[in-house]
C-alpha cells in the first residue's frame, strides 16, 4: 500500500516529468491547493524542464480539482462493490470518510480496488468500530490476504429475518474460489455454508 512520501524519494529532482508532478498534484490535496493558489511557486521545488512546466502552469485549478475528485469517486465506486453493507450503514457519511481515507493511501496494481476496500475497512474500524458488518469485513479481509485458510469470529446483526449474533466464520481459498462457512454460537445450529464466490473479478 503506497503511503505518502516525498516525490524526491521516487526519482531524482532533475528527472521529474510533467507526469510525475501531475500525479502528485492529483494525489496530494495540500500540494494541489497550494498549486491552485500559486502555480509557479508550487512548482518551484520541482526541477522541471521548461516545456513540462509550461504544461502544468497552464492547468485550470477548477479542472485539476475536478479530475482529482473524479479519481476519488471512481475509487469509492469500486470499493463500494466490495463493501455494500458498510456503505449502506454509513449513508451520507461514506463520501466524507472515503475522501479522508483516499488522501492517505493509493493502492497499487490490479488488486488496488480490493486493497483499497481492505484499507478503508481498517480506517472505518478506527472511527466507527460498530458499524462494520462482521461477515462482509471478514470476506474482504480474506480476499485481500494471501492465506489459504482463515477463521474469524464475528458478530452479525439480525436483519430481515437473517441470522444474527456471534459466530465463527471459516474461509477457504481453493481453485480460484472462496468457500465460507458460518457457525452461529448464540443458538445451537449446524454450520451454514454460503455459496462459493469466484475470485476472477478480484
Amino acid at each position: 500500500m503506497k503511503l505518502r512520501g516525498n516525490i524526491s524519494d521516487v526519482a531524482p529532482a532533475d528527472s521529474l516529468s510533467w507526469a510525475d508532478v501531475l500525479g502528485r498534484l492529483l494525489s496530494d490535496r495540500d500540494l494541489r491547493e497550494s498549486f491552485c493558489r500559486n502555480a509557479g511557486a508550487a512548482l518551484e521545488p520541482f526541477a522541471l524542464q521548461l516545456a513540462d512546466k509550461a504544461v502544468l502552469v497552464a492547468l485550470k485549478p477548477e479542472h485539476l480539482r475536478r479530475q482529482a475528485q473524479l479519481l476519488v469517486e471512481k475509487r469509492r465506486s469500486e470499493v463500494r462493490r466490495f463493501l455494500p453493507v458498510l456503505f449502506a450503514r454509513l449513508g451520507t457519511e461514506a463520501e466524507t470518510l472515503f475522501a479522508e481515507h483516499a488522501t492517505t493511501c493509493w493502492p497499487e496494481g490490479h488488486r488496488r480496488h480490493l486493497l483499497d476496500a481492505a484499507h478503508f475497512l481498517r480506517f472505518v474500524r478506527r472511527r466507527h468500530p460498530f458499524v462494520l458488518d462482521g461477515v462482509e469485513s471478514a470476506r474482504v479481509t480474506f480476499l485481500a490476504d494471501s492465506k489459504r485458510v482463515m477463521s474469524l469470529s464475528f458478530f452479525a446483526r439480525c436483519s430481515g429475518g437473517v441470522d444474527g449474533g456471534p459466530g465463527v466464520q471459516l474461509l477457504v481459498r481453493s481453485r480460484g474460489r472462496i468457500r465460507q462457512w458460518r457457525l452461529f454460537l448464540a443458538w445451537p445450529r449446524l454450520p451454514r455454508r454460503s455459496p462459493a464466490f469466484d475470485l476472477s473479478r478480484v
Binding site: 503506497k2 521516487v10 510533467w18 501531475l22 500525479g23 475536478r66 473524479l70 475470485l199 476472477s200 473479478r201
Partner: protein, 265 residues
C-alpha cells in the same frame, strides 16, 4: 469491412450465467485483462471457444513517460496468449506516475513527446501480444493542452503507432457537453479509416455535468452520435461497456438489440 458491425458486451463475472445460455444478442465479448491476472484461464478458454474476444487493458499506463511496467505487461501478454483476441486495446492516458498509481485514467498533453511515448508503448504492447492494438479516447474534465488539437493528435498517433482507434462514443459525447464543443465536427476531423471499434454506454448527468458511470441506459442523443459514427467509419464491432446494474439482464438484452437495430438500419 465485411457485413455489419458485430455487437458485443464487456464480459463481467456477474454475466457469466446469462452468457452460458448463448444469447443471440451477443456476437463478441470484450475481456478486461486485469480480471484475469490472477487466474481464470479455464474460463478464458471457454469464452474464446464460443466468442471472438477483444482484450482491453486498464493499467498499462501507455502515456507515462517512463518504460512500461514489465510485470504488468507480462501479465497482460499472458492473458492475451490464452484469450487469443482479435485485437488488444488500451487508453490514450496515464494511470501511474511519480510513484503513485492513480487508479484511473488521466489525460496526457498533446505534444510531440506524448506522441512518441504513446506510439512506442503501443507498438511494444502489440508486439508482445502479437496482435493489433487499438487506442481509446477517455473522458476527463482536465485538458492539458499542447501543440495540436485532439483530433490532429489522434490522427498522428495512429500513424506513428501503426494502430487504429477504439472510439468511446460515450466519452466523446461527455467531453463535448462538458467542454462545449461539437461532437459531430470533432468526428469529421478524425480519419474515418482509423475508427474500427466503438464503446458505448449510457451517461449520467449530475450537478449540470455529464459523467461516465457505466450503468445507465443509452440515451437517444447518444445513440444518434453512434449512428453518425457508424455511417462515417468502417466500424467492425460495437461494445456495450456496462459495469453497473449487471443484474438488469432484460435491460442489457434490450440495449444490445437497440444497437443491432442501429447498425442494421
Amino acid at each position: 469491412m465485411n457485413g455489419k458491425p458485430q455487437i458485443g458486451l464487456g464480459y463481467r463475472r456477474e454475466l457469466a450465467p446469462w452468457l452460458q445460455t448463448r444469447p443471440a444478442a451477443v456476437d463478441c465479448l470484450e475481456i478486461t485483462a486485469e480480471h484475469f491476472f490472477d487466474g481464470g484461464e479455464t474460463t478464458l478458454r471457454q469464452l474464446r471457444d464460443r466468442y471472438p474476444l477483444y482484450l482491453h487493458g486498464l493499467g498499462l499506463s501507455l502515456g507515462t513517460p517512463e518504460p512500461l511496467d514489465e510485470a504488468t505487461l507480462d501479465r497482460f501478454a499472458n492473458v492475451a496468449r490464452v484469450a487469443r483476441p482479435v485485437c488488444v486495446s488500451e487508453h490514450i492516458a496515464f494511470t501511474r506516475a511519480g510513484g503513485v498509481d492513480l487508479g484511473h485514467l488521466n489525460p496526457v498533453p498533446r505534444t510531440r513527446g506524448s506522441l512518441a511515448t504513446l506510439a512506442e508503448h503501443a507498438r511494444r504492447v502489440s508486439g508482445r501480444c502479437d496482435c493489433p492494438i487499438l487506442l481509446e479516447n477517455i473522458a476527463t474534465p482536465l485538458d492539458l493542452g499542447g501543440e495540436m488539437d485532439e483530433t490532429g493528435f489522434l490522427n498522428e498517433l495512429c500513424e506513428r503507432a501503426n494502430c487504429r482507434l477504439l472510439l468511446d462514443v460515450t466519452n466523446l459525447f461527455i467531453n463535448s457537453r462538458n467542454h462545449g464543443f461539437d461532437a459531430s465536427g470533432w468526428l469529421r476531423r478524425i480519419d474515418p479509416a482509423r475508427i474500427v471499434q466503438l464503446h458505448v454506454v449510457g451517461y449520467a448527468v449530475r450537478d449540470g455535468r455529464h459523467h461516465d458511470t457505466h450503468g445507465a441506459r443509452m440515451q437517444d442523443d447518444l445513440l444518434e452520435l453512434v449512428r453518425e459514427v457508424i455511417e462515417y467509419a468502417p466500424v467492425q464491432s460495437v461494445i456495450l461497456e456496462r459495469d453497473d446494474r449487471l443484474d438488469e439482464l432484460e435491460e442489457i438484452g434490450d440495449e444490445l438489440v437497440r444497437l443491432r437495430s442501429l447498425v442494421a438500419s
